[in-house]
C-alpha cells in the first residue's frame, strides 16, 4: 500500500510541477524591430510609419534595402518591385522598349506571347494586391472609431484622417492599375478581414465606378497641391481621375472625355508649371525645385534602395559603348533599348531638333537583328543618376532619381486628347501642346496648329514626351494599336518586322496561381 501511496505522491507532484510550464508557450517576438499588431499603435509615430510603408510599397521591394524581407514572394525580389513590374507591363509590350535578358519568360512581353503562368505577370498582380491589402489594413486601423478607441484626439486625429484618405488614394491607384492591366479582378476592401476567404471578382466597369467614387470621396480630405513632396495630394487624385476618364471607354464602353478635361483643367489651375529643361525631369535631383511634378515615386541612394524602380531603368539601359559614369552608376546591366519604330517618331534622332530624342547611337544598330544583343536597337539615355549640375548622385549603385508617375506635361496632353475627341476646347489644347513642344524644341519651331492636332499626332506626341514613363501600353490600347495590324513595330508578335497579335493581349491574364487559389475567379477571355 505504501508503494502506491508513494507513486500517487510522485504523480501528483509531477502534474503540479509540469502543468504550470505550459504558459511558456505564449511567446511574443523578442526582436525589437517587431511589434505585435495589438500594441503597434500605442506609439503615435506608427501612424505615419505605416503610411510611409504604403508609399514605399511603390518604391522598395521589402523591409530591407536594396533587398531582404520581401513584401511579396514567388519571384526574385527585384523583379517583384512595383515600379519595375509596372514598367515591364507598360513598356516592354510596346514600340518603346525591348529587353535582351534571359530571365525566365521576360522576352514574351515584347513578343506579346505571354501566358497565364508567367511569373512577371503574377508578380505585378500580386504587387498590386499587396498594396491593396496593406492599404485595407491601414484603412481599417485608422477609422474614427478605432482612433477614438485608442484615445487619439486633436491634431494627431486630424493628421491621421488625412493619412487615412491617402491610403484610400493609394488603394485607388493600385485598383486603377489592376483595372487597366487585368480588367476583371478580385475585389477586397477594408470590410474584409485578414484570413482565408475567396474574394468575389469585380467586373472592369464596376471597378471603374468604385475607383471613381473613392477618389471623389477623398478629394476634399487630401492635402492641398504642392504641400508636401511625395505625398498624394488633391492634384494627384485629380490626375488619376483624369487618367481614368481618358480611358473610360476602354474600361466601361462609355466615353467620359469631358470629365477627363475637367479634372485635367483642375490640375492645370493648381499652379503647376513645366520645368524649363526636359532632361532635368529624369535626373538625380528631380525632387528639388521641380514645378512640374504632381506625384512621384521617390528613391534615394542612401535611404531608399531597391533593385527595381529607377535603379533598374537606369542600369538596364546602360551597356555597349556607353560610359556608366555618365549615368552616375558603376556599371550597366545592358538590357533595355528601343525599336526603330519609336526612334522614327522623331524626325531627327540626334536630339538637336527635339531635345526629347535622347538616344545613344554609337556602336548601336538602329534595327534589331538579335533581341539578346544589347547593341541591336538604339539605347535610351533619358534617366540618369546625375544631377542637373552634372555631379553624381549620392550613391553609385542606387540612384537618387525619382520616378515621375504624374507630371504636368501628361495632364496637358490628356486635355488635348479630350479636345481632339471633341470634349474640350481645341484652342486650349493647341496652347497646351505647344507649351510642351516649345520646351522640347527650345523655342517655337516645333509648334503646331489646330489642324495638326489629330489622334495619331497625340499618340505620337505622348510617345515622344512620355516614353519610358509607363504610359505607352495604355495609350496604344486606347488608340487600338497595341495588338492590331494598324500599327506594327519590330518584333511585335515575335516577328522581326512585327505582326498583329491576338486581341486578348490588350489585357493580361489573371495568374494561374490565383485562379487556382480563388474559385470565384473567371480567367480573362482567351487565356
Amino acid at each position: 500500500m505504501k508503494k502506491f501511496a508513494n507513486i500517487f505522491l510522485i504523480v501528483a507532484g509531477l502534474t503540479i510541477a509540469f502543468s504550470s510550464c505550459t504558459k511558456d508557450l505564449d511567446t511574443v517576438p523578442l526582436d525589437k524591430k517587431v511589434t505585435t499588431a495589438a500594441t503597434v499603435f500605442e506609439n503615435p509615430e506608427a501612424y505615419l510609419q505605416v503610411l510611409a510603408k504604403l508609399y514605399a510599397g511603390l518604391a522598395v521591394s521589402g523591409q530591407e534595402g536594396p533587398a531582404g524581407q520581401g513584401d511579396i514572394s514567388g519571384i526574385d525580389e527585384g523583379f517583384g518591385q512595383y515600379l519595375r513590374g509596372y514598367w515591364y507591363h507598360q513598356e516592354l509590350p510596346t514600340d518603346e522598349a525591348v529587353i535582351g535578358w534571359n530571365d525566365q519568360t521576360i522576352k514574351d512581353f515584347h513578343g506579346q506571347s505571354w501566358g497565364a503562368g508567367d511569373v512577371f505577370i503574377a508578380a505585378m498582380y500580386y504587387r498590386i494586391f499587396y498594396q491593396i491589402a496593406v492599404c485595407n489594413e491601414y484603412i481599417r486601423e485608422t477609422t474614427d472609431a478605432k482612433l477614438d478607441g485608442r484615445g487619439v484626439t486633436g491634431d494627431l486625429k486630424a493628421q491621421v484622417q488625412t493619412y487615412h484618405a491617402e491610403a484610400r488614394f493609394l488603394r485607388a491607384l493600385s485598383y486603377s492599375h489592376a483595372m487597366d492591366l487585368f480588367a476583371n479582378v478580385p475585389f477586397v476592401t477594408e470590410d474584409d478581414v485578414v484570413g482565408l476567404f475567396f474574394p468575389p471578382q469585380i467586373q472592369r466597369a464596376e471597378l471603374f465606378n468604385y475607383v471613381e467614387s473613392e477618389l471623389k470621396e477623398i478629394e476634399g480630405q487630401l492635402l492641398e497641391p504642392h504641400t508636401v513632396y511625395a505625398r498624394a495630394d488633391k492634384a494627384a487624385a485629380w490626375t488619376l481621375l483624369a487618367k481614368n476618364y481618358l480611358n473610360a471607354e476602354v474600361y466601361t464602353g462609355m466615353a467620359r472625355y469631358g470629365e477627363c478635361a475637367t479634372y485635367a483643367q483642375k490640375v492645370i489651375d493648381a499652379g503647376y508649371q513645366l520645368a524649363p529643361v526636359y532632361a532635368n525631369l529624369f535626373l538625380a535631383d528631380n525632387d528639388q525645385n521641380n514645378p512640374e511634378q504632381i506625384f512621384s515615386i521617390a528613391f534615394d541612394g542612401i535611404n531608399t534602395r531597391t533593385y527595381g524602380g529607377t535603379n533598374f531603368i537606369i542600369h538596364a539601359a546602360v551597356g555597349g559603348s556607353m560610359n556608366p559614369s555618365d549615368f552616375g552608376v558603376g556599371g550597366g546591366w545592358g538590357g533595355i533599348r528601343t525599336t526603330s519604330a519609336f526612334v522614327n517618331k522623331f524626325s531627327d534622332a540626334s536630339g538637336n531638333t527635339d531635345r526629347r530624342a535622347m538616344f545613344h547611337t554609337d556602336g548601336q544598330n538602329l534595327e534589331i537583328i538579335n533581341i539578346g544583343e544589347f547593341t541591336d536597337g538604339y539605347a535610351i539615355t533619358k534617366f540618369k543618376n546625375v544631377t542637373s549640375t552634372g555631379s553624381a548622385g549620392k550613391d553609385i549603385d542606387y540612384p537618387d532619381t525619382d520616378f515621375p508617375l504624374f507630371r504636368l506635361a501628361d495632364v496637358y496632353l490628356m486635355y488635348a486628347e479630350a479636345a481632339v475627341r471633341g470634349a474640350a476646347d481645341m484652342g486650349m489644347a493647341v496652347t497646351y501642346v505647344n507649351k510642351v513642344r516649345e520646351r522640347a524644341y527650345n523655342g517655337t519651331s516645333g509648334n503646331i496648329s489646330a489642324g495638326d492636332l489629330t489622334l495619331d499626332f497625340i499618340l505620337d506626341e505622348r510617345g515622344r514626351e512620355l516614353y519610358w514613363e509607363c504610359h505607352r501600353r495604355t495609350d496604344l490600347v486606347r488608340h487600338n494599336k497595341l495588338t492590331s495590324a494598324e500599327y506594327v513595330w519590330p518584333w511585335k508578335g515575335g516577328a522581326p518586322q512585327g505582326v498583329a497579335t491576338a486581341g486578348k493581349y490588350r489585357i493580361f491574364p489573371l495568374p494561374t496561381a490565383d485562379v487556382n487559389a480563388n474559385p470565384n475567379l473567371q480567367q480573362n477571355t482567351g487565356y
Partner: protein, 1032 residues
C-alpha cells in the same frame, strides 16, 4: 528553467528518502560488466536472469548490470549470438562475465527513445551501427561514419570542402517547406540541427572518434515517442564511456592525408578560345590577351590534412570516466580553404547507492576555426578569359604615396584605385581605370582578395540521473538536464581595391561581421515501470514522461564598406590582407542588425510495452506536444503509435527449421513536424520595422516604415502517418542475417509557403497547411559471413532501398492547369527555375521543354516539341521529366581479416537520380564569349561543340541527364601489432583511400549532386590517408 529544475530535484530527493526508509534485509546487489570474450568490448543489452525465476535485468549501454539477489543465487548471462553462461553469485559482490561469441550479430545494442531495448524486443524498424563497423577516413562529421551502411538512409555531402554539410534523408523527405532533416539525439539530448552561422555542418560538433553507436529509428512505432520532431526519422548517437572496473587505457589515433582534385570541367584552352573569339566576334578581337591561363588549375591544390585524437578512459573506484581531445587541421582543395577543429569531451558515469542511482554526465566542447575559400572562384574559373594573365605586372601602387595636399607627406585621404592589387581585371571602355562591375572576376583575385573567417564554439552537455526506487526496484525515475550552446563569430572582408567591390564615389570594399548565439535548454523526466508476471507469462514495461525544451537564437550582423584611409607602403598580392585592417575606415553603408528569437516545445509522452510468452510483443506510444510556434488554439498535437512483433522463431512449430531468427513486425504511427526554421511566430499578427535602406521620403524627411506581416492564425502541425511491415531473419546460426521492410508514409497538412487568394492576406504567400505527399518503399539488408575461421574472417554486407515520392495535393482547390510551385533555381539569367513541386509528381521534378534533334543527332537551338499542339511553343509546352532523387540506392561493404591484416571497403550506388547540367546549359553557348554589358570576354565549356548553341537553352530536357552511379567511398588496409611496445601497447597502422573511384555515365565532374542541379560544385577530392592507433 530554474523553477522546473528545483521542482524536479525536490521530487527526486523525496524519492530517495522514500527509498531509504523502505530498507531491505538479507538480499544484496551483485553487479559487474558483461564483455565479449574474444574482442573485449562490452555487451549492452545482455540478459541477466536469476536462474529459476523471472527476475532479471538487462545490461545497459555500457554493458553494466546490477541485480538484487539472495545468497547463493545462480545468474544466467545470455545474449543473442553468444553462448549463455551460468555463474553462482553472492550478494554485494562484483562479477564480471565474458561471453563467448557464436557466429552472429555484433550489434545487439538497440538504443531507443528514452531507453535501451533488446533487439529481440524491438517492434519498430531500427538499425544500429557500432564503432567497429564505421567507415574510415578523414571524417569530420558523424554521418560520414555510416554513409552507405544503412538501408533507407541517404547521406549526400554538399561538396568536397573540409567539414562540408550533408543532406541526410531517411526514407525520402516527408516535408516540402519545413525541414527534412532527421532529429539528432546525442547522449539523450535532442540537438539543434539547424544551421549554425559560420559552420559548414552543425553536426561537426561531435568528434567521430568519440562515437560508440549510431542508431537510426526509421518507422513511426520507433520514432513516435519523439512526436512532433520525428517525421523524418531519428538518429541517436551515443558516445564512448568509461567502464566500471576497467583499468586505465590511453589511446592515441592520428592520421595524415593528402586530398587531390580528381576532375575539372573541360573549358576551351586559350588558343582555341582566341580562335573562337576571332571567328565569331572579329570586332572584339582587340579584347583578347596573349596569356595561356588554366584558371581551374590556378584555384585548386593538393591539400594536406591531419587529425589527432587522444582519449583516456578507465574507472576511479565507482567513477568510470572517459576524457578525449581531438584536433583536426584540414585544407581544402580550393586554395585558401581551411578548417581547424578542436574537440574535447568528458564522460562520467558513476553508479551510486548499490546500483540504484546511475548518473551520466556528458560534456562535449568544440571549437572550429574556418577560413573559407571564396567559392565564387569555382564558377569564375570556368568563365574567366584564359587569354588573360593572373597578374598584369603592376605590383606597387603609387597612388598610395600620393601627396595631394602638397604638404610633403603622404595623405591620409582615400585615393583612387587603379591597379586592383596587381591582379588582372577588366576595365570599362574608353581608357578608364574603372573595373567592369558585371560579369566574372579574376578567380585568383577572388580567392586572395577576400578574407572570410569564422570561429564557432559549441558546447553540448547533459546530466542524466536514473534512479531505481529502493522501495520498488521495478520503478525507475530518470531526469535529464541538457544544454546546447553555440556561439559563432565571423568576418568577411574585401578590400576596396578588389575590382568587384569598387566604388569611386564613396569608397568600396566590404566588411561584414556576424555573430550568432544559440541556447537550447532541455529538461526531461520520465518514470519507467517494468514488471514480469509469471502467472500469465507476461511482461509489462510502462514509461511516462515530460519534456520541456527552449530554443533561443540571436543573430547579429554588421555590414559596411572598407576603404583605405591611410597610406600603405606595400600591398603586394598575397600580402595585403590582414596586415592593414587597422588602417581601414568604415564610414559608409554601415548597417547593423540584431534578431533574437525563441521558441518552446513542451511534451508529455508515454510508452507501453507488453510481451506475452516472450514471443508476442506489443508497443503503444503516445506523445502530446505543444509548440509556441502555433496559436493557443492549434498548438497541441497528439502523436500515437502502435506496433506488434511476433517472434516466429520461438514458436514450437519452428523447431527443427534451420533458422536462427525469424521475426515479423508491423507498426503504425503518426509523427509531426513543426520545424519552421525561419519564423517562430507564423500565427501572430505583427508589424516589422524597415532598415535604414528601405526608408521612404515624405517631404524632406525619411521615415523608417512599419509593415504589417502576413500570418495564418490557424497554422498547425504537419502530420506524417507511417505504416511499416518487416521481417528480421537469420540462417545458419546467423551466418546470414538481415531484414526486409515495407513502408508507406503519408504526410498531410504540409506546412507550405503558398500563394493565398490575392488580397486576402498581408502578403501573397503565407506559411500555411496545404498539401499532401507520400513516400513508399522497400528496404532490404543482408549480412553474411562466408568465411569464419581462426585465421580468416570475412563479412559482407549489402543493403538496398527503393523509395518513391509523390506529391498528392498542393492547393486548396484542384485546378489541372496549375503546374506547381517553382523550385530549383538555376544559374544564368535571374529567377529561372528548373524544377516544380507538382501534384502527381515527385518533389523537385524537372519541368522542361522536350528538345528536338536534327538529323545529325545534335539538339536544335530553340526547337522544342509542341506538346500541346497549339502551333506555338509557349510555357504550356513544358512537361515533367524525371527528378533528382534516386529511386534505388544500394550500399555494399565488406571486411576481411587474415591474421593481423584487415581489409575493408564500402561503396554505394544510386539508380534513377537525374541531374540538371547547369554548368553546360549556362556555359556551353557561344554568346558567353563576348558580353556587351562590360564589355568583356568569357570562356565557355567544350560541350558547346556538341550543341553549337549560340544562346542558352536553359529549359531544354537535353540538360537533364541520368546520373546513376556507383561510388567506392573508401578502402582501407590495416595491420595490427598487438605487442608493439613490449606488451605495453598495441599499434594499428592503416592506409585508407576515400572516394576511390566512381562509375557513371554522367560526364559532369560528379554525378552525386544534392538537389540535382549541377553547378559550381566544390569538387569532392580523392584522399589518401595514413593512420595509426596506439593503445596503452
Amino acid at each position: 528553467m530554474g523553477k522546473h529544475l528545483t521542482a524536479t530535484m525536490i521530487l527526486l530527493l523525496s524519492m530517495l528518502v522514500f527509498g531509504f526508509s523502505a530498507g531491505y534485509a538479507q538480499t544484496g546487489v551483485v553487479r559487474g560488466v558483461v564483455t565479449d570474450a574474444k574482442e573485449g568490448g562490452t555487451l549492452p543489452g545482455a540478459a541477466v536472469q536469476v536462474k529459476g525465476t523471472l527476475e532479471g535485468t538487462v545490461t545497459d549501454i555500457d554493458g553494466n548490470y546490477s541485480i538484487t539477489i539472495s545468497p547463493n543465487a545462480t545468474l544466467v548471462f545470455s545474449f543473442i549470438g553468444y553462448e549463455s553462461q551460468e555463474v553462482l553469485v553472492q550478494p554485494n559482490t562484483t562479477v564480471n562475465v565474458a561471453l563467448l561469441q557464436q557466429n552472429t550479430y555484433l550489434e545487439e545494442l538497440v538504443v531507443i527513445g528514452y531507453g535501451v531495448q533488446k533487439r529481440d524486443d524491438a517492434t519498430g524498424s531500427v538499425t544500429a551501427v557500432g564503432s567497429k563497423d564505421f567507415n574510415r577516413g578523414t571524417l569530420t562529421t558523424p554521418t560520414e561514419l555510416v554513409s552507405g551502411k544503412i538501408a533507407g538512409v541517404q547521406i549526400t555531402s554538399g561538396g568536397g570542402a573540409p567539414g562540408e554539410g550533408a543532406t541526410i534523408r531517411i526514407r525520402g523527405g516527408s516535408s516540402l517547406r519545413a525541414s527534412n532533416d532527421p532529429l539528432f539525439v546525442i547522449d539523450g539530448v535532442p540537438v539543434d540541427n539547424d544551421g549554425i552561422s559560420g559552420m559548414r555542418n552543425p553536426l561537426n560538433t561531435i568528434n567521430p572518434n568519440d562515437i560508440e553507436t549510431f542508431t537510426v529509428l526509421k518507422d513511426a512505432s520507433a520514432t513516435a515517442i519523439y512526436g512532433s520532431r520525428a517525421s523524418n526519422g531519428v538518429i541517436i548517437i551515443t558516445t564512448k564511456k568509461g567502464k566500471e572496473g576497467k583499468p586505465l587505457s590511453v589511446t592515441y589515433s592520428g592520421n595524415f592525408g593528402i586530398s587531390t582534385p580528381i576532375k575539372t570541367i573541360d573549358v576551351l584552352d586559350a588558343d582555341v578560345f582566341r580562335k573562337e573569339v576571332q571567328d565569331r566576334y572579329p570586332n572584339q578581337a582587340g579584347l583578347l590577351g596573349t596569356a595561356n591561363t588554366d584558371w581551374q588549375k590556378e584555384i585548386y591544390q593538393n591539400a594536406f590534412s591531419m587529425d589527432h585524437n587522444l582519449s583516456i578512459s578507465g574507472a576511479y573506484k565507482v567513477l568510470p570516466y572517459r576524457l578525449s581531445i581531438g584536433y583536426t587541421d584540414q585544407d581544402g582543395i580550393l586554395k585558401t580553404d581551411n578548417l581547424k577543429r578542436t574537440t574535447a569531451s568528458v564522460a562520467l558515469n558513476p553508479t551510486l547507492f548499490d546500483g540504484h542511482l546511475k548518473i551520466d554526465v556528458n560534456a562535449k566542447y568544440m571549437n572550429i576555426k574556418n577560413q573559407f575559400g571564396n567559392r565564387d572562384a569555382i564558377g569564375a574559373a570556368l568563365q574567366y578569359d584564359p587569354s588573360k594573365p593572373i597578374e598584369d605586372g603592376t605590383l606597387y601602387n603609387p597612388y598610395y604615396l600620393n601627396d595631394v595636399n602638397g604638404d610633403g607627406s603622404p595623405d591620409t585621404v582615400r585615393m583612387p584605385i587603379t591597379d586592383f592589387g596587381g591582379y588582372y581585371a577588366w576595365v570599362q571602355p574608353g581608357g578608364t581605370d574603372i573595373p567592369v562591375e558585371q560579369g566574372s572576376s579574376n578567380p585568383v583575385a577572388l580567392l586572395n582578395m577576400r578574407d572570410d573567417q569564422s570561429t564557432v564554439n559549441r558546447f553540448i552537455g547533459n546530466i542524466q540521473m536514473d534512479y531505481k526506487m529502493h522501495f520498488l526496484p521495478e520503478l525507475r525515475a530518470n531526469l535529464n538536464l541538457g544544454y546546447d550552446y553555440s556561439k559563432a563569430e565571423g568576418d568577411n572582408i574585401t578590400p576596396d581595391y578588389a575590382p568587384w567591390s569598387y566604388d569611386a564615389l564613396n569608397g568600396g570594399g566590404n566588411w561584414s561581421a556576424y555573430d550568432q548565439e544559440k541556447k537550447n535548454e532541455l529538461l526531461e523526466f520520465y518514470l519507467n515501470y517494468v514488471k514480469a508476471v509469471k502467472s500469465i507469462e507476461s511482461r509489462f514495461d510502462v514509461m511516462a514522461g515530460y519534456s520541456w525544451q527552449h530554443f533561443y537564437r540571436s543573430n547579429s550582423s554588421l555590414n559596411s564598406n572598407y576603404s583605405r584611409q591611410f597610406t600603405l607602403d606595400s600591398i603586394r598580392p598575397g600580402n595585403y590582407q590582414k596586415n592593414f585592417y587597422g588602417d581601414y575606415m568604415r564610414t559608409y553603408n554601415i548597417k547593423s542588425d540584431d534578431n533574437p528569437t525563441e521558441s518552446y516545445l513542451l511534451s508529455f509522452f508515454g510508452r507501453f510495452n507488453y510481451t506475452f510468452k516472450e514471443r508476442y510483443l506489443l508497443t503503444f506510444t503516445l506523445r502530446n506536444d505543444g509548440s509556441s510556434r502555433f496559436s493557443p488554439d492549434t498548438r497541441w498535437g497528439l502523436f500515437p503509435s502502435a506496433a506488434f512483433a511476433w517472434q516466429i522463431i520461438e514458436e514450437p512449430f519452428m523447431a527443427g527449421v534451420n533458422m536462427s531468427q525469424l521475426k515479423f513486425r508491423a507498426g503504425y504511427g503518426v509523427t509531426g513536424q513543426q520545424n519552421i526554421t525561419d519564423n517562430d511566430y507564423p500565427y501572430l499578427p505583427r508589424y516589422t520595422l524597415s532598415d535604414q535602406f528601405a526608408q521612404y521620403q515624405i517631404g524632406n524627411q525619411f521615415y523608417y516604415t512599419l509593415r504589417p506581416e502576413g500570418y495564418d492564425y490557424n497554422i498547425k502541425w504537419e502530420e506524417t502517418t507511417t505504416l511499416n511491415f518487416g521481417f528480421d531473419f537469420g540462417f545458419a546460426n546467423d551466418r546470414i542475417y538481415g531484414s526486409l521492410d515495407y513502408y508507406n508514409r503519408k504526410t498531410s497538412d504540409l506546412i507550405n509557403f503558398i500563394a493565398v487568394p490575392a488580397g486576402t492576406n498581408l502578403s501573397n504567400y503565407i506559411l500555411t497547411n496545404v498539401g499532401d505527399l507520400k513516400n513508399e518503399g522497400f528496404e532490404f539488408t543482408i549480412v553474411t559471413r562466408p568465411v569464419s575461421t581462426d585465421k580468416i574472417f570475412w563479412e559482407l554486407g549489402f543493403n538496398a532501398t527503393y523509395n518513391q515520392n509523390e506529391i498528392t495535393k498542393l492547393t486548396a482547390t484542384d485546378d489541372p492547369s496549375y503546374t506547381g510551385i517553382d523550385v530549383g533555381g538555376i544559374s544564368g539569367g535571374v529567377g529561372n527555375f528548373i524544377q516544380k513541386h507538382a501534384v502527381g509528381q515527385s518533389a523537385n521534378t524537372y519541368f522542361v521543354f522536350e528538345q528536338v534533334y536534327g538529323t545529325d543527332g545534335k539538339p536544335l537551338q530553340g526547337i522544342y516539341v509542341d506538346r500541346n499542339g497549339d502551333g506555338e511553343i509557349t510555357d504550356a509546352d513544358r512537361y515533367y521529366y524525371k527528378d533528382p532523387a534516386a529511386n534505388f540506392y544500394f550500399g555494399i561493404n565488406s571486411s576481411v581479416s587474415y591474421k593481423n591484416w584487415d581489409f575493408a571497403f564500402s561503396g554505394r550506388a544510386n539508380f534513377g537520380n537525374y541531374v540538371y547540367d547547369n554548368v553546360n546549359s549556362e556555359n556551353a553557348v557561344y554568346e558567353r564569349l563576348y558580353r556587351p554589358e562590360g564589355p568583356y570576354l568569357g570562356n565557355i565549356t567544350d560541350k558547346v561543340y556538341e550543341t553549337n548553341f549560340v544562346n542558352p537553352q536553359f529549359l531544354s530536357d537535353y540538360y537533364i541527364q541520368d546520373a546513376s552511379f556507383f561510388r567506392m567511398d573508401n578502402m582501407s588496409l590495416s595491420y595490427f601489432f598487438p605487442d608493439a611496445i613490449k606488451k605495453f601497447a598495441s599499434l594499428r597502422l592503416t592506409a585508407t583511400v576515400t572516394n576511390v573511384f566512381t562509375i557513371t555515365q554522367y560526364d559532369g565532374i560528379d554525378p552525386e549532386i544534392s538537389g540535382g542541379i549541377d553547378n559550381r560544385l566544390y569538387p569532392r577530392p580523392r584522399t589518401y590517408l595514413l593512420g595509426l592507433t596506439l593503445q596503452f
